[in-house]
């Protein structure tokens, strides 16, 4: 029954992701060049990340295999599991860098927030797909409730960065699903007001400071701006062609705490310069463009919504991360997809990618000759096939 999915895979996107992952590894390699004679070499970021990457690629492969419609079927279940995990996290979570964001299962740390993003997009897509009253304002209540619950739970950890990702993703999906622009604008205003309220009453001082350091730099002490200042200088010192591989991690370089996590772009920008940065931007641009092109082409609303949702999450992460690295966005602690060091982030990025590729690959029209060989999946639907049956 099953057709070779490779034929419909978007190889452009896969190539982009492969190149991005390589750049990520390269950055980590120069950040801490592994010393193979050292028994602790397995703990160096680059080796760990390579292992994560292998695992993630296997997971990506697995994600590509089944019918993506199962995702729709299990969406609520996965969502429920994630919510339970998030609630449990508030009680049992491990505190890392001031936030309870991690479950430790043996040596592996799990970040439920990362998985919740996917689950929420899936559930939202399913709800929106069947929603009939989206053009009414009350029709937005259920979708918004679905988004608000995990966002609030993640905000409590507190992981401000991940929490705000839900907003734009939900807006994009609502928009794609056909909600009225007037409602969405009101919603954005409301979100702005809520955000201001949250800032005033719900945020920890350090979060406020981080935001402030971007909005009104002169009001924040130099130390709070330090990380970002260093990062900006580091990027700037790359020049047009960069300072060369490995140069950014010398003792002479600008010191950026936690550089291989959230500020990984500064390594690449410093070492590869403007050219390298443009290349990285280009890869992401192609990635988003291809992804949204699939959303445009696909005939299935679920696929379209999921792709729009996941892509906007990627895009938000990308913009905020690069933005904070080069000083045009506040520091939020969001990682750069496929590049930043971190297993959970990479794994969920790959799962998201798998979903996008899988959904996009199966539900887009294709008039090429290789279709109609009889290997049709039970849920697969192409106009071409129908046409033949009609004929």
């Amino acid at each position: 029954m099953m057709r070779n999915p490779a034929g419909r895979l978007n190889w452009t996107m896969l190539t982009c992701v492969f190149l991005l992952c390589s750049m990520g590894l390269l950055a980590l390699w120069t950040f801490s060049t592994p010393d193979w004679s050292d028994p602790g070499v397995m703990r160096t970021p680059v080796v760990r990340q390579a292992i994560f990457m292998l695992v993630s690629i296997v997971v990506l492969g697995i994600t590509l295999l089944p019918n993506p419609f199962h995702a729709k079927r299990f969406a609520w279940f996965v969502f429920a599991v994630c919510i339970v995990a998030l609630v449990a996290l508030l009680f049992f979570g491990r505190v890392t860098r001031g936030a309870k964001g991690w479950f430790m299962i043996g040596p592996i740390g799990l970040q439920p927030a990362e998985f919740t993003k996917i689950a929420t997009v899936l559930v939202l897509a399913r709800v929106l797909m069947y929603a009939r009253n989206l053009h009414k304002w009350w029709g937005l209540l259920l979708p918004l409730g679905i988004v608000a619950l995990p966002a609030r739970l993640i905000f409590l950890q507190p992981d401000f960065g991940s929490a705000i990702l839900f907003g734009p993703a939900a807006l994009a999906m609502l928009f794609a699903a056909g909600a009225r622009v007037k409602h969405l604008l009101l919603l954005a205003l409301l979100a702005g007001a809520l955000g201001a309220g949250a800032f005033q009453f719900g945020m920890k001082p350090y979060q406020q400071k981080r935001l402030f350091s971007f909005v009104t730099p002169e009001k924040v002490s130099k130390w709070d701006r330090y990380q970002q200042d260093q990062s900006i200088k580091s990027c700037g010192s790359g020049g047009i062609t960069g300072r060369g591989l490995g140069e950014s991690t010398l003792s002479t370089s600008f010191h950026i705490p936690d550089r291989h996590n959230d500020f990984v772009f500064s390594i690449l920008a410093e070492e590869l310069g403007f050219v390298g940065s443009l290349f990285l931007l280009l890869l992401f641009g192609i990635l988003f463009y291809q992804s949204l092109r699939m959303a445009f082409l696909t005939r299935h609303p679920f696929a379209r919504l999921v792709i729009v949702g996941l892509t906007s999450i990627f895009a938000m992460q990308f913009f905020i991360n690069i933005g904070m690295t080069i000083g045009v966005a506040p520091i939020t602690g969001l990682s750069l997809p496929f590049i930043s060091y971190g297993g959970s982030s990479l794994l969920t990025s790959m799962i998201s990618l798998g979903l996008i590729l899988n959904l996009g690959g199966r539900w887009s029209p294709n008039f090429s000759s290789d279709v109609g060989d009889g290997s049709v999946h039970m849920n697969s639907f192409t106009p071409h096939r129908n046409l033949r049956e009609v004929l």
Binding site: A172, F175, A176, A177, G178, K222, W223, Y226, Q227, I232, K233, S234, C235, G236, S237, G238, G239, I240, G246, L250, S251, T252, S253, F254, H255, P257, A269, G273, F274, S277, L278, L281, F284, G285, F288, Y289, L292, R293, A295, F296, P301, R304, V308, T311, S312, A315, F319, I322, G323, I326, G327, V328
Partner: protein, 614 residues
């Protein structure tokens, strides 16, 4: 569901790329130079080169102070603390007890902490890690044996480094210590280190090379905290000339902690200081007065230009004891000795009653005011006035005798009190003060050594007896031995007030006084009589032989204590080469205590007169 809405989403997502590209272009293309420059300034590492401090030489070129090469012990904390035996070994090596080692380590950590506190919190651990790998001076001048032991046992003392350094030494020890002075750590004196930092004392010429940031980073590292400065004497007065200028070594940091030297700004060694002191004479006199239990001071100077040949104050100290690292057991005895106060040179930093030598001033006052002429006589009647119990001539006090009619030279010769009481009655305190100032009393002489006292003249006259007492140098009159040296020089050189100084070629030109040559001539003649006259109070064979003129003095001070013994003179009388002042506190009679000392000094002066001849 409108498919085209995806296109709008795509537009919203892809448009901000332009913003990112613009920002990146701004950073990496248009402002790259600025950031690169900042980066390069960070990649520099700096070291200072300590200048050789200038030597201090006596008038014959004998070295009184110089920088000797020494071995300094540095610690690299990371390696040192890795070894659990480290502290014990270091304690054994240096012969210290544990608390002392701990205190030393504490000081290094304080220096590191100072650097850390200036940096953002998240960078502090990095600074700590970096500085723990850097050598820090732990102890200066550990001695050859210790250095040899460490150097020949590599690996035995982990983290202990021996580096060559400089150590100030004073080869002549106590001799002339008050004049040569000593050095001390710049840190410690309240605020001095900070003040000097602000003045750019250490970092002269650095700004052009490494900019303000580089200079500040050096200061932050505390590289100047171990530096020394003149604390006393010439070391202090001429510190600016002696110290030289710091040099710079500029390194570029390379991968993995390697460094490459890229620029050198050599240190400028300090200039030598030539003193007017004759250290052999100084040592001879010091030996001479050493047996005296009470404070004794000797001033030998050239009466024409004020060059000081010897400036002795009994109870001196060894300046080597004060050179960092100073040992408490060496220094505390000096501080504890309340009676002698060896750190204090009495010759210019203390003042005493003068007594009869002031009669020179009184005589000058009387002569200048035409109260007397060289030929006029005043009769000594033993007792000055019947109603004044205490104003008698010393001959009356001793023998109920009297001197009879005396001219000025006769009165000086026998040091008759009545003669000068008469002058005091005539001149009053103010009149005498006026001439005392001409002789340099009551004001600082301007000697180029620290802490000179101005002495004291009686401020006003309450009773006529104040003037009588002042005329023979009693009352509230206080002078320092150096001032007496100036006083006697005025007579010796024909009426010029010299500025005593120890720096060769230093001191300002002698000041003219209001004394007429005739007055000075008369004074000189009368002082000649003191030594050569039949009844002269300073009549000693050697003084006569060397043609000395001078005046003795036995100054009453405290009730029940012996008088201060003074002698002030110059020789040869007609063409003076030397002026000599001898002072022995509570010595008794000037004639019997001070004069014999002066005799020996004069003998020494003329025995090798040619070498000492200015």
């Amino acid at each position: 569901m409108d498919r085209n809405r995806v296109l709008i989403v795509a537009g919203v997502i892809l448009l901000p790329f332009l913003g990112l590209v613009a920002r990146l272009a701004h950073l990496q293309v248009f402002s790259a130079d600025r950031y690169l420059e900042e980066l390069h300034s960070r990649s520099r590492s700096l070291e200072i080169a300590v200048p050789h401090r200038g030597r201090i030489l006596d008038r014959n070129g004998i070295v009184l102070a110089e920088d000797r090469r020494a071995f300094d012990l540095h610690l690299v904390l990371e390696e040192f603390e890795e070894d659990p035996e480290g502290i014990r070994q270091l304690a054994l090596l240096l012969g210290f007890d544990f608390p002392r080692i701990e205190a030393g380590l504490e000081r290094i950590y304080v220096r590191i902490e100072r650097q850390m506190n200036r940096r953002p919190k998240n960078e502090r651990m990095r600074i700590l890690r970096r500085e723990r790998k850097a050598p820090y001076l732990f102890r200066r001048d550990v001695g050859f044996d210790t250095a040899y032991l460490v150097e020949t046992h590599p690996g035995r003392f982990p983290g202990v480094l021996i580096r060559e350094g400089l150590r100030r030494t004073y080869p002549r020890g106590e001799s002339g210590a008050h004049i040569v002075g000593y050095i001390g750590k710049i840190i410690g004196a309240e605020g001095e280190y900070e003040r000097r930092l602000e003045d750019g004392y250490f970092t002269e010429g650095f700004e052009e090379k490494i900019g303000e940031d580089g200079t500040r980073s050096l200061v932050r590292k505390g590289v100047f905290m171990e530096e020394v400065t003149g604390r006393e004497g010439t070391e202090r007065t001429w510190n600016e000339k002696l110290r030289g200028k710091y040099g710079l070594l500029i390194f570029e940091r390379k991968r993995r902690g390697e460094r490459k030297m890229v620029e050198v700004m050599p240190a400028v060694p300090g200039s030598d200081i030539d003193l007017t002191l004759d250290i052999e004479l100084q040592a001879y006199i010091e030996e001479l007065v050493a047996p005296l239990r009470e404070t004794a001071c000797v001033v030998v100077l050239n009466p024409h230009d004020g060059e000081i040949l010897a400036l002795v104050s009994n109870r001196s100290y060894d300046p080597n004891h004060f050179v960092p690292p100073a040992k408490a057991e060496n220094v505390t005895p000096y501080l504890r000795d309340r009676k002698n106060k060896p750190l204090l040179s009495r010759a210019w930093r203390d003042q005493f009653q003068l007594g009869s030598i002031f009669k020179v001033v009184s005589a000058a006052a009387a002569l200048e005011n035409r109260m007397i002429t060289p030929e006029s006589e005043i009769e000594c009647t033993g007792k000055f006035k019947p109603n004044l119990r205490h104003f008698n001539c010393h001959i009356w006090n001793s023998y109920k005798g009297l001197h009879g009619p005396l001219t000025i030279s006769g009165a000086m010769e026998v040091s008759c009190n009545i003669f000068f009481y008469q002058i005091g009655e005539e001149m009053g305190v103010q009149g005498l003060n006026y001439w005392a100032l001409q002789f340099g009393l009551g004001a600082k002489t301007g000697i180029d050594l620290r802490g000179e006292v101005p002495g004291q003249l009686p401020r006003h006259q309450r009773w006529p007896s104040d003037a009588y007492a002042l005329a023979i140098g009693q009352q509230d009159l206080m002078v320092s031995p150096v001032q007496v040296g100036v006083l006697i020089s005025v007579v010796a050189n024909g009426g010029k007030r010299v500025v005593p100084h120890v720096l060769r070629g230093g001191g300002s030109a002698p000041a003219e006084t209001l004394l007429s040559p005739a007055t000075v001539e008369t004074l000189r003649d009368s002082l000649y009589e003191v030594v050569h006259g039949a009844r002269g109070t300073a009549r000693r064979p050697l003084l006569v032989e060397y043609d000395v003129a001078g005046k003795t003095s036995s100054a009453q001070n405290q009730r029940g204590k012996p008088a201060h013994a003074w002698f002030a003179g110059f020789a040869p009388c007609n063409d003076p080469l030397y002026a000599v002042v001898v002072f022995v506190k509570h010595g008794g009679s000037g004639g019997s205590v001070a004069v014999p000392l002066a005799e020996k000094i004069v003998e020494k002066l003329f025995a090798n007169g040619e070498t000492a001849r200015p």
